[in-house]
Amino acid sequence: MSATPQSSTELDDGRLSIEVKEHPAQNLVQVSLKGRVDVFTYKSLGDQVAAIYNERPELRLVLDLSGVAFVASSGWATFLTIRSRLARLNGKLVLAGLSGELQKVYDALNLEPMLPRYADARQASEALARG
């Protein structure tokens, strides 16, 4: 799957960085996060991702969390908001690359039905590309 790196952005004094890779042929975007998704970064993250999916019907978005050290409740809530807004545009959000620690909280919150996850971004992208 060919990708064109589009942008890399640091948010909130480097607390979180975002790298966006477009896969235009599949109408798929991979957003890789590095740092912390917490009460200080969730708004900026939501805004950055909204700028990607706005007015793009049927967009498939992979949120790669392999570089994320911590997700607070505000971060999980942001993922759910992104998922809802994408769904309104017939799009889809999946997560990838959760660490073991992150996975335990994800399981405790029973997020699987709402936010499907894959072992890594490649598997997630391939699954979404297959439809």
Partner: protein
């Protein structure tokens, strides 16, 4: 696994302050490392403690907050106290029903849902202008 007790007092409070939240995380990381707890235990505890501390810093107008951590025989006990306006976390959590998938307001209540899912024995007390929240991190998150 060693027993460790640790305490942090934040004063004065400056609203939602990244440096103060980072102090909370450092205390948790150092204490769990000393006690030999798993990183999963530290992570689950940090998720709940950040949620509750951030609520106090952002909404309560408290001038101080204290965090007490007691790691003993593989169990994790946490107590958070502040002198802000009372927010009864326990009452709010009792009002939650079902899982996130069944809730229309799921993402808005996620912080409380997280506290409910990751803790046991949650108690909320108010005495003499001091609010106290104490709980144990659920064993499946406290141990490997």
């Amino acid at each position: 696994m060693r027993s460790v007790q640790a305490r942090l007092r934040l004063e004065p409070l400056n609203g939602l302050d990244a440096a103060q939240i980072d102090q909370v995380h450092r205390l948790l990381q150092d204490s769990f490392a000393k006690a030999g707890h798993s990183t999963a235990a530290a992570y689950a505890s940090a998720s709940v403690v950040e949620e509750l501390c951030a609520n106090v810093l952002e909404h309560s107008n408290a001038t101080w907050l204290s965090l007490d951590l007691d790691l003993h025989e593989g169990r994790i006990f946490v107590r958070i106290q502040d002198n802000g306006s009372a927010f009864d976390v326990c009452a709010r959590i009792r009002q939650l029903s079902g899982g996130l998938a069944e809730r229309s307001d799921g993402d808005r209540q996620l912080g409380l849902f997280m506290v409910r899912q990751l803790t046991t024995g949650l108690q909320c007390l108010q005495d003499g202008g001091i609010n106290r929240v104490q709980f144990e991190v659920k064993p499946q998150h406290g141990r490997e």
